[in-house]
Structure formats: structure tokens, C-alpha cells
């Protein structure tokens, strides 16, 4: 079976949180939400609304107190992170500082770095795809911030799992670089069709690549819907207040003051 056809056929897995509750010892978070398979969903919401916790629950870094996490219809609640069909890119610390670019990517294939010829080919292809060809032997400290996140993406490619979780991975990059990275994500998504859940603070990032939006507030899912509806002004009030306040602030302080 040719490459392209196969990945078109077998698309990313759906992700479902079935009445998942979780608590850090304060007010509990309760998530009951579906993420469409093979789509890019932006997860937005104010600080402390539980965006990162949501991703951590899906990835298996946090265990729910009750409820189930389903990926592709299978209950993965009891699985350790490495056994879940999920890759996650963090805001930082995605790389081991003492390992080369190639080794960091290679860990996506074998956690003991025992790589076969096929693995090496896949690694080279992933580095090529993320624009890192020729930088295989470098250490993370010899890379720019954007390049480091590209290495993390290359590892996502060789790991090849049906769900990709992005926890504000480009928050510390400048605007132009961020756009480049978003376009890369969109392009990879177009090729592989995995399910992407993408936490961001920037409405323009969400608008740029996402098809769906899930909006969190105070530890619950406050609204879900199509991205175009959200950004066309048809989104729910909570979302408009979250996005609008910052946008209006930039234009005129008077209006914002009158509204309060």
C-alpha cells in the first residue's frame, strides 16, 4: 500500500474525556468533552482555567480521580504515558541537553537509543521535513529556540502517534517565527491527518490553523464550536469577553472603561 493513501485512510484518533474529574487539592476540574478525529482543535481559556491539566490528563501525566479518558474509542485511563497513542510537545524542556539533535529525535523510536537502519532513515527524513537537515550532530544549546521546537516536532514525526498535544510550544517565539511553526504544524497535519489539540493564548494562532475551538473557564468546558464561528463573532459570550477585552484594550481604553 502506498504511503500517502494509507495515512489518508487511517486518520487520527478521536479523543474523549468522559466525566473526568481532577483536583490539585483546590476546586476540582471536571471535563466532559469530545475532540474530533483528524482535526486541529484550539484549546483556549484564561490562565488557571485548566488547559494544561486537560492535556496532561490525556497524555497520562495526571491521573483522573474519576471518569475515563478514551482515545480512538479505547479506554486508556490506566495506561502509562509512554503506552498511550499520544505525543506531546511542551513549552520548554522538550530536549535532553546533553544529547545531539539526532539522538533526541531517535528517542522517539527507541527509548534505549538502539536504532535500526529503518529508524535512521525515518529520523533523517523527519529532520529534513522540519528543516533541520545538516544539524544532526548539534547539541540543543547550539540551536535557536525555534530550532529546538523543530527538533521536538521531528521526534513527533518519527513517533508517529495518532494524537498530537501542543502545550503552548511556541509561546516564547517571536511573531514571525511563530507563524512559520504554525504553518509547519498545519502542513504536517495535512500530510498525516493526526488529531491535534493545541493550547494557546493567542486568538490569531488559533484562527490561523485550527478548525475547532474548545474554550475552558474555571476548570470546565465553557463552550465548543467551529473556529470560523468563534472568530466571526458568533462565539459564546465568555469567549467574546476573553478575546474582546484584550483586543479592545489595544484600540481604545475609553470603551473598555465604559463597559465595566
Amino acid at each position: 500500500m502506498p504511503d500517502g493513501a494509507a495515512s489518508r485512510l487511517e486518520k487520527g484518533a478521536s479523543v474523549r474525556l468522559d466525566k473526568v474529574s481532577f483536583s490539585y487539592g483546590e476546586a476540582p476540574l471536571v471535563f466532559d468533552v469530545d475532540f474530533a478525529a483528524a482535526k486541529i482543535t484550539a484549546i483556549m481559556g484564561p490562565s488557571g482555567s485548566g488547559k494544561s491539566t486537560l492535556l496532561n490528563l490525556i497524555a497520562g501525566f495526571e491521573m483522573p480521580q474519576s471518569g475515563r479518558v478514551l482515545i480512538g474509542g479505547a479506554d486508556v485511563s490506566a495506561e502509562p504515558p509512554s503506552a498511550r497513542p499520544v505525543s506531546m510537545v511542551f513549552q520548554e524542556n522538550n530536549l535532553f541537553a546533553h544529547l545531539s539533535v539526532e539522538q533526541n529525535v531517535g528517542l522517539g523510536r527507541s527509548p534505549s537509543l538502539r536504532l535500526t537502519e529503518a529508524d535512521r532513515t525515518a529520523i533523517a527524513a523527519a529532520l529534513e521535513r522540519t528543516g533541520l537537515a545538516g544539524k544532526e550532530r548539534r547539541l540543543p544549546r547550539e540551536l535557536s529556540g525555534g530550532e529546538r521546537q523543530r527538533v521536538a516536532l521531528a521526534r513527533v514525526l518519527v513517533r508517529d502517534r495518532p494524537v498530537l498535544l501542543l502545550d503552548e510550544p511556541f509561546a516564547s517565539l517571536g511573531p514571525a517565527l511563530r507563524d512559520d511553526m504554525l504553518d509547519l504544524i498545519a502542513a504536517v497535519h495535512a500530510e498525516r491527518g493526526m488529531t491535534v489539540l493545541f493550547v494557546t493564548h493567542q486568538p490569531e494562532d488559533a484562527r490561523r490553523i485550527s478548525q475547532h475551538v474548545v474554550f475552558l473557564d474555571n476548570g470546565v468546558v465553557a463552550a465548543t464550536g467551529k473556529a470560523e464561528d468563534f472568530f466571526a463573532g458568533a462565539g459564546p459570550d465568555v469567549f467574546r469577553r476573553y478575546v474582546g477585552a484584550s483586543a479592545r484594550d489595544a484600540v481604545s481604553r475609553d470603551i473598555a472603561r465604559k463597559r465595566t
Binding site: 504511503d3 490539585y24 497520562g60 502509562p80 509512554s82 522538550n94 541537553a97 508517529d160 498525516r192
Partner: protein
Amino acid sequence: MGVATLSTASPPPRLADTASRHPRSDPPHKGEGGRRASSDFRITAGIVALAAIALLIGGAFAGLLFEGAHDFSGAWAAFDPYLLRVVRFTLWQAALSTLLSVGPALFVARALSRHPRFLGRAFILQLFAVPLALPAIVAALGILALYGRAGYFAGFLSTVGGQGWPGIYGLSGILVAHVFFNLPLAARLFLEALQTIPADQWRLASQLGMGARPAYRLIEWPTLRASLPGVAGLVFMLCITSFTIVLTLGGGPAATTLEVGIYQALRFDFDPARAVTLTLLQIALTFVVALALTRLGANAVGDTSLPVAPRRYLSVSGTETSLNVVLILLALAFVVGPMAATVMAGLGADLGRLAGEAAVRQATLTSVVLAFLSALLSVMLSLALTMARRALALARRASARTLLEHATDTGAGFVLVVPPIVIGAGWFLLLRHIGDVFAIAPVMVVTVNAVMAMPFALRAVRPAYDAASERHERLCEQLGIAGWNRLILVDWPSLRRPLATAFAFAMALSLGDLGVIALFGSDSVQTLPYLLLARMGSYRTEDAAGLALLLGLVCLALIMAAHWLGREKYRDA
């Protein structure tokens, strides 16, 4: 095989087609994997380490209790006026030593903090760290070479005193040695405290025109006062448990402490009942002091790292400056004197002949091998405890800490409360029923010193491990890097340096130790400190001086290596 079994056992699905799947596409590890496997490994290692430590200390206590029960009347009879005198002297010398170390240290630290920039300041602070590295027996010898009856100062002191200088054996010798060790330590701790005062406060003080006196009263003294109980408590604890100094400088029954009493009861009088009584008293004493110490919030482990002075905004008057210079020079002379005397006396010895002596070679070899093994064990114990503590902390998340986590955390520091002599005495009493006590010497020296060095090793390893874990934990969990794999691929590269630091420090401590070997040493198993003590005992002072120089230099080199390894930070963020 049913479909259900297949699906649970199958690897996490890959996205792409089967063609690009390489043949060995089994999951990183099967089923279990991930967090559970990795934390199990680490927690198991910690439990093994704790069990080993518990065995060492518990065995000693068992020996003591067994002996006490065996000869209860004898142990009771040991409570005689002599014993009370020993207890009184133990406390008295510790109190005096603390007063004489901590009082002057307050002023020296303040003087150093008032002048954050001058040529040689860093060097002085480094010199102040040397006593921490110097084996007690080397320092004792240096002090004798300087102030002893035949010391370099004897002639001068005789003229001043108007009669023959009697030397400084007894209380005076103990006090001088304890101050030599503890004044620099206390000064460095106070200086560290003073340097926690925010630079803004100094900026404010100079803006308000605060002179030296009000600045001391309003800014410096409150900080010093806060750290005073902790520092004084630490010094008191060190002086109560000091063995080598009292053994070599004490001289006679008039100046004997509990620890030396235990040694004499076992090695000379062979009076096990008395040894039990003395040991139990010593444990009770250190326990009470340690309890008071934790109440005072003291840090029971000294540090060799060099405090960095923040920028200051103050003007110091001319008179104060000259006063401070005198103060610093006096402290410096007191600390450098015995070191210089050690070097001079050592160079005066017939080093060539010493190096050729079979006994010296044998003792050097024994010392190096035992210290090496001891350091290795110490580092392994520390790493195991550190890993277990971190894994337990990660596993529990928000819930309360378990007893096991406490044991791997603060529990490890409490081994300092149990002096090596006490552990040695317990095992000595236990083993004498079973077989040849002296044959077990190497094992005792290695294990006891490893455990004694552990709190220091922990200080080097734990922050580095926790920081690395902070960066790598989730990544390892996700990629399924666990157990041995993780140790080799992830942990070892970031822990190499701190482990080397801990190793060098532990080796230096173990190399210079006289406590355990004094109990277990014999003609067949001799370490350098033991040989040194023997030469001192047979009045071969020149030989002793030469050996002291050798031992001192090796320990100093190790400590410097530890310091250098510790400072060179891993360059990546």
C-alpha cells in the same frame, strides 16, 4: 487468542501505514512500563539503601543492648564519680569551644562583609574552608608543632611566661583545636547569613546616611541573631562528638570526653559494661542536642562552597577599616598558623625514608582502597536515597508525605547524630562474641565512613538530581525511558559532576577518619591516620609530622577537586 487480548497487548498504534513501520515496532516497553516501572526502580533502590543504613545502625544498637542486658549490674555500676566527671568535662569543653569559636566569628564575619571587595578576600575565604577538609589528626599535629612543649612558639612563650612552657595538652589544647576548626566554619556561615541581606537595604541605609553603628544595630545584628542559635548549636554538636582532637590533645583522665572514654573502655581497660554505659550516655546527649538543633532550625551539614558577595553600597570609615583589617589578620594568623606548622614540620621529616618504609606504603595503600570503597558506597547510598525521594514526591503529588519519603529526606541527615565511635562500639561488642573483631576492620571502616559522609554527598547530589528530574521527568515518561536506560542515557550525563564532587568529598572525609579505625585497627590493618597515631604514641614526632603532611595534602587535593567539580556548572539551561 481473542480480539480483546490482542488489542490490550498490541503496541500503541502508529499513525502511518504498515509499510513504513519498521520490523521491530514493539512498544517501548510492554504493558506495565512508564511511570510505574521507573518509580518502582527508584523507590526500590531507596528502600535498599535505607535498609542497609538501618542494618548498620541497628546492628550497633543491638550489640549495645545485648551487652547491657548481659551485664546489667556492670553497666549500672559504671555510673561512678569518674563517669560524672567525664560527662561534665564533655559538656564543659564543648560549651567553652562554642563560645570561643562563635563569639569571635561574629566579628570576623562582619568585618569580611563590610569589605566585599579587596584583594585576597576570596583567598581568605578559601583558607577558611581548609580546616573543614583537614583531617583532625593533621590539625592536632599542626597545633602541637606550633604551641606544643617543643613547638615553634615554645621558646617565645617560655620567655613571656617567665618559666618553662608546659605545652598545650589538656583543656587548652582541645580548645585551641576546636576553635581552629570551628571559628572559620562559623565565620563562613555568618557571612553567608549577612549576604542574604538584600542589596536594596544597603542602598537605603547609605541614602539615609546610616553609620556603622546604627547599620549594625538595625541591619546586621538582626540577621546575625537569627542565625546565631543554629550556628552555635552546630558547633556545640561538633565539639560534643569530637574524638580525634580529645584523644590526641586531651592527655590523661582529667581531660577525657565520653567518646574517648568509650574507646579507652574497649581498647585499654576492656570493660564492655562501662563502654555500654558511656555509649548510651553519648547517644542520649547527642540526641538531646540534635533535637534542640532542629528546633533552632540549624543546618547540620557544613558547606564548602564559596559565598559570592553581592554588590554593596556602603562607605566604611578609616578607623573601622583599620580595626577590621586587624581583626581579619588575627583570625587569619590563627587559622594559617597550624597549617603552616604542619607543612614546616612535615618538610623537616625524613620524607625519603618514610616513603620507602613498608609500613607506610602498606598503610597508604590500605587508606586509599578503603576510602575509595567508602566513597563509592556513600555516593551510591546518596543517589539511591535521592532518586527514591524524588520518585515518592512525584508519585504523591498533592497528598501528604509518607513516612518513607521523610526517611529518605530528613531521616538521612540524622545519621550525623550517631557518632562513628558509637556505631563502631556497638559492632565491636556484638562481634567479639562471634569471632575476630579485628578481621572485620575493613568492612567497618568502609561502611561507617560511607554513612557518615552521606549527608554531605546528599547535598551535592540531590539539587542536581531534582533539577534534572524537573526538566526530564515528563519527557522520560512519554518516551518510555525508564530504569537502567534512564540512568545511562539521561541521569548519568547530568549527574556526572555532582557525583564526582560527592565522591571526592566523601573520600577525603573517609581518608582522614580516625574514629572507627582507632577501635578496629591492628597491626594487620592500618590506615594512615592509625599509623600516624601510633607514631605519635611512640614519640616518633618527625615521622608523624611527615605522615601528617602527606595525609593533609591528599585530603586538601580531594576537597579542591570536589570544589572545582562542583563549581563548573553544566553549561546547558
